[in-house]
Subunit: 447 residues, 2 copies
């Protein structure tokens, strides 16, 4: 392994020889002294070189000739060039960037760079064209370190609580959610569909007696919309567990999971997030507020907003308003909106015993937008089939899904959550496209 | 949450009332006493009921009537039925199954089951048709708990070493590996392809200055073969890191990762694996043996086997033989076969400076079969383009991939590893289909 030191490790080292490697962020090529800001995945450091602008080849000593060569190298450095630099580390409080600098002894150009095609003020679309350069921005880099920490904390919570990790197939013989928004794949002599969610298969794991399962993986929706919160491919965070009494058990697990994740992010990246995003990551208190949908509608309407939807669901503005209400009244960034009307839920959500017009389900709204849907599932095959028929579904179209319920199935429930939405709302980003490694939309398949 | 006790937690409880829930594995309906083996995700427990075969409705007390009802319920219990049982836990050394039993007080049938369509001796294909029942087998269940532990240990290793988790897109505008074995997707007005590996994008993360990345996610190959080690959809375990000096740095990370994973599995599941699979999980010693491909060929040929391939690569029998040789001579289950010929490696593998006929690459062979390919990548755009042209590739077909190298790219390398192959070979299973949650092959898309 190259014996380079990460920039973030320099502060702990004594003055002396070091090797650092990364890309050139800026060059200040002054007459007497040259400064290079070198960045790697851990941070940025100032490199300095006393310029030697000319040497007399007749009389110059080797050292002067070297200095002259390095000076010429630096003058020619382009933004984005990858270099490896050996030099003397010196701690110096006067240096704004981290209180240290490296005096260049030798510099190796590892990989040259074309002129950068994007700048900080380029349009989002242009930046996405060159996502591999956009991601060099410390803000973008931080998003993915936050994501790493968040998912690690989620998985740690699940594993501590006895969940099994599954990887469900993304190629299916029948739709997982609905006929709409379905991607079709040429599959040898037949057709396959891309999974819209792991719904069928995480329920299958309940029939298989796995007890509790989780999955973090891609899901696909052929959704033609261009909003800031939709993508055709997204990372779905899913959990499902047996022997729940109601959706309340699912919400309890869900809020504990999020609190564990947010705590890990706040601990590890809180300062950096404050600095780069001007956002304070708050570890949510438990339990999260719970408001039945009917009451949420009433609150929103009483707040002066008439929800334009006729099906009883909240629209995005309604979500923003109920979220703002909860933030103001209860000081909480999260709210479970519960007990959705049967008409706006899929057939597999369990219906309340005492009121068949509402389901044992919830949406989780965070900082103004929905990030997740959860529910207790209907595990009784005859009820499930009846509910499917009531929705006008052809039960034959559901393929093997219904079979999972014919050989014994425990009561169970779970949720699916969009990872990018959580990150977007946590970091107050304007679009999901900023927090996805490589966004996919109706007109974007590259890079 | 249902206040059930997991079967695995019963041993630590004192005698007294408990509630357990799971599915019925067997019923022994004897005249005077009934035994039910109940299984949940954590284990199996014997339930016992002193049978009351008849009551006189005129004279019977309530308790006798209850016993009679429970006796009738148990006699009617079908295999696979999910039940919830309350009763008295009693530790009793004479009970073979865990030294305890639960005397049934009341039993609730939660979900009835049709007659089981598969048995232990059903064909693999039949078992896969009913995978949701096949997975109830304790052996199958253990596979996925082992997988959970293995992946958790991998991720812990990576995160400790500063890797960032990425989720690369599975929908691409151009092929990620080759035109062959490519699944095509109808994508609005155009076509997309399913990613055959995250290769392009984990390299993109190097250009983006991420330093070190990992991903565990699906990959897709339209491979029409029906072997025991191929699937059209599989979980790929990928890592990639910047500033490597050669493939040796990649191998060092790779072997440390596997040792960490195997140690976690041996610690947590070693006893159970011995019991159910009759396999001893060995934590591999470091470093793994390394044998250049040319020498591996010589060893195999000297061992009396003529490799039928003409391209210089090992065939499956060759892999078995070099693996057996290493096991016998060096006592190791793993071997890195290194320095593959340029002709049998993709264009993006780096070629040795001192010998342009071989690459800075390796295959990792474990217990007789290849589980992974790794390499240092060529990061110099002009060399990369030349190598692509030498392979007869149209560089325009490579889409934006080559652009990743034009704006600065550090030296880097990594590997891709098939998760199912690792599990199959670790547990000495005969087919990859046994260790994939839901196998996908040319003629299998369901359940």
């Amino acid at each position: 392994m190259n014996t380079r030191t990460l920039v973030s490790d320099l502060a702990a080292l004594p003055d002396g020889p070091v090797t650092v490697a990364g890309w050139v962020e800026t060059v200040r090529d002054q007459k007497k002294v040259q400064f290079v800001i070198l960045r790697d995945e851990s941070g940025a450091v100032q490199l300095v070189n006393p310029a030697v602008r000319e040497v007399d080849p007749e009389t110059a000593d080797a050292a002067s000739a070297d200095r002259f060569a390095v000076t010429e190298q630096i003058s020619a450095l382009g933004h984005g060039t990858f270099v490896k630099v050996t030099g003397e580390l010196k701690h110096d409080e006067r240096v704004k960037l981290g209180g240290l600098e490296v005096k260049i002894a030798s510099l190796e150009v590892v990989s040259e760079a074309l002129e950068p095609p994007i700048a900080a003020d380029s349009s989002l679309d242009k930046r996405l064209d060159y996502r591999f350069l956009d991601l060099r921005n410390p803000k973008q880099n931080l998003i993915f370190r936050v994501q790493t920490t968040l998912l690690a904390a989620f998985r740690e919570y699940w594993i501590e609580h006895g969940f099994i990790e599954i990887h469900t197939p993304k190629l299916m013989a029948s739709p997982s959610e609905s006929r709409a928004e379905l991607f079709e794949v040429e599959y040898f002599d037949t057709k396959a569909y891309l999974a819209q969610s792991p719904q069928h298969f995480k329920q299958m794991a309940q029939a298989a007696g796995f007890g509790k399962v989780f999955e973090v993986g891609p899901a696909f929706r052929a959704d033609p919309s261009f909003t800031s919160r939709h993508a055709t491919e997204f990372v779905s965070v899913d959990a499902e567990m047996s022997w729940v009494d109601s959706h309340d058990d699912v919400m309890r697990m869900h809020e504990e999971l999020l609190a564990a994740g947010f705590r890990a992010v706040a601990d590890k990246h809180g300062d950096e997030i404050r600095e780069l995003f001007d956002v304070e990551v708050t570890v949510p208190s438990l339990p999260f507020p719970r408001i039945p949908l009917a009451e949420a509608r009433r609150i929103v309407e009483e707040g002066g907003y008439t929800i334009p939807r006729t099906d009883g669901d909240l629209d995005p503005e309604g979500e923003r308003r109920i979220s703002a209400y909860v933030k103001e009244q209860l000081g909480h960034e999260f709210v479970f909106v519960t007990d959705y009307d049967t008409g706006i839920r899929p057939f597999y959500h369990m219906v309340h015993d005492e009121d068949p017009t509402i389901t044992k389900s919830y949406d989780l709204v965070f900082n103004g937008a929905e990030i997740s849907t959860g529910a207790q599932r209907e595990h009784r095959i005859e009820v499930l089939e009846a509910q499917a028929r009531e929705k006008g579904l052809d039960t034959a179209e559901l393929g093997s899904y219904l079979d999972f319920f014919r050989y014994g199935m425990p009561p169970h429930g779970g949720f699916g959550m969009g990872l990018a939405r959580v990150l977007m709302l946590m970091l107050h980003e304007a679009s999901i496209r900023e927090v996805i490694f490589l966004f996919r939309g109706p007109t974007r398949l590259a890079p």
